[in-house]
């Protein structure tokens, strides 16, 4: 699923490890999310939205697979 996590992370000047720690997931999960290889669960998607101060729809492209 396409998303803007990489862009938002760059805007906040956070590393993948920092985002992983803030979300409580492994760095590999952030890598998979950014690459669009993994669609997160609803709770994790909301957590990502809260972390970047955006809605889920603003971060994830529901039309992409």
């Amino acid at each position: 699923m396409k998303n803007r996590i990489k862009v938002l992370r760059a805007e906040h000047d956070w590393s993948q490890a920092e985002v992983a720690d803030k979300l409580g997931v492994a760095r590999q999960t952030v890598v998979a999310l950014e690459a669009g290889k993994y669609a997160p669960s609803l709770p994790l998607a909301f957590k990502i939205g809260k972390l970047f101060g955006k809605t889920v729809e603003e971060i994830f492209d529901a039309d992409s697979d």
């Binding site: 992983a20 409580g24 997931v25 590999q28 999960t29 998979a32 669960s41």
Partner: protein
Amino acid sequence: MADTNPTAVAKRRYIIALCGCMAAYAVILIPAIWLLSHDVVAGPLRYAVALAPAVPIVFVWLTILRYWATTDELERRVMLESLGVAGAITALLAATYGFLEGAGLPHLSAWWTWTVFMASWLVGRLIVQRFYE
């Protein structure tokens, strides 16, 4: 400073617990084999000694279950999908060899299914992981 990421903490605990289980397995297995091979024990006690190495194996699976429950969602998915691959490979090989036994190949011990399952879990993990990289 120690890593406080919950997934990293879960992995560290998992590896330590797994090493403990494997050490316990070795400590129990060696005397169990000696007792059985020297016919030191008989009757119901013989079965208890033979089953003793299974106890740490139960703890291995409890450790795996605890790791599954405490790690992050992608790792959980990778674990489950690779277990599915391992189950499918093992079932396929077991059924195939079962048919071949009917054609005259020698009867094998059930032990090989354990070995195949654990080996194919590792192979399955390497395959599944690639889909998320």
